[in-house]
Symmetry: C7
Subunit: 92 residues, 7 copies
């Protein structure tokens, strides 16, 4: 992903596994198959990860706490991700 223009960098990542993160804090990991100038992206063999939630007792109250660790929520296979919802793309 070394390149003079940002899209060249995405081109170098084609067919490699990348992490795609969205504005709504979801994370998708999969093989980068396609992208365009809007940064619409298609991943193959994709998984959706979410932040792990554990129940914890704080001061005698049971509350849900985010551990900061990402865990797999579901396998999606092929997924089309709309560009304007993406924050970052990074090779795994």
């Amino acid at each position: 992903m070394d390149a003079a223009r940002p899209l060249d960098a995405l081109n170098n990542a084609r067919d490699k596994r990348v992490i795609v993160e969205l504005k709504n804090n979801r994370q998708y990991v999969g093989k980068l198959k396609a992208f365009d100038i809007h940064i619409n992206v298609v991943l193959e063999s994709a998984e959706e990860n979410v932040e792990e939630l554990v129940e914890k007792e704080i001061d005698g109250k049971t509350v849900s706490v985010k551990t900061g660790k990402l865990v797999m929520k579901r396998k999606l296979g092929v997924v089309f991700i709309r560009g304007d919802t993406i924050t970052i793309i990074s090779p795994e």
Copy 2:
């Protein structure tokens, strides 16, 4: 949905059942009938799913808790979904 450009991937999913997820966390499942470059989408035989809410007693208090499981909220038949509200599209 294997393709060099993201819209080719949507084209491969035409007439197949897809999951469409929105920025407001709603999910629509239906047969992909049409789409355009704005990712405006038309589904047929569509259903809207929402996260299941159950009432649970925590520390003596009744609260509504999301189970993380999606349940059908309503059948919509045909639905036009505006592209800029979409996060992902994935074959079911």
Copy 3:
């Protein structure tokens, strides 16, 4: 609303009653009279629906609870809805 392009689908719904839902969770139901490429929409004989709120006692406290059911808030007659606020359009 069966069509190769999403706007054809809206065209098929012209003069029929449709549900239009907005990003702010409001719902309008009326006869589809006009639309354009921005998905600006004009409805006739339109009503605005909102989620029903009931007062409920939970653990000795009176709270407002959404029932998930939509109830009519007001009759609007003709209404112009700006496209970029719309999430879905579906024949009733």
Copy 4:
């Protein structure tokens, strides 16, 4: 406001009193004097309405409650409303 294109509908409402609602839940009522393709709008003899707030005692606590009724907040005379903040326009 019966028309084949949405902007024709606005044209039919020119010089009539209309309700304009914004994404931030404010409502303006006034005579429609001008609009353009971005749905920028100019109203004359305009008023800004807000949802009525009343103080109510619930379970021994004084809280502010929205009644759902709109009450006039201020007279504005002429007002220019930027199109991308508008959700709906409807003749009064």
Copy 5:
């Protein structure tokens, strides 16, 4: 500010004092010196107003309450306001 097109209305307000309100609820009052098609605006002798906050005792608790009244926060002199943050412009 009587005009066939919205920008004519702004033109009529040039060199007059106007109220400019933003999506983040801030309000600027000043003399309208310049604007463009994006509704970028320049005010002169401008002030920024914010909603007055008073401390009030409710049920034995001190809380900050908005009075709904606008009070001057600071004098800005000349201010450039980016169009896409504006909701309304109205002669004072």
Copy 6:
């Protein structure tokens, strides 16, 4: 910053110290070195200011309270600010 068009006003402020405020309530103060039609801006000798937070005891509880006063958070030197995040620009 007196000008017929908003960008002329920014041009008059070139090489002077300006306040730039963002939609996320951050404030940057520095010498205006460059800007373009998207209102992308470059400041030199820039500082980032944030609203001062103090700990205060209210009704026996320690809470963090915003004083409304801006205090320097960090020196940034040169900073590029993306236009669509800006609300206002004003000479200091």
Copy 7:
């Protein structure tokens, strides 16, 4: 990063370490390898930093408090950052 146009300033920062901050408050630090007119950016040897959270006891309750200090969350190597999510870019 001294320049007449904002993008010249980014050009001067090429191959130097920069801080990139996003609308969702995340911060990336890395070597600036590429950018385009949308301010899409590619960083190399990048790290993601987040505000440090510490557990603190306030009035007998354990709460999570942000210290305002940034700590490294993860090493990302190469990262593509979508322009419309960026607020500022500044040489380290």
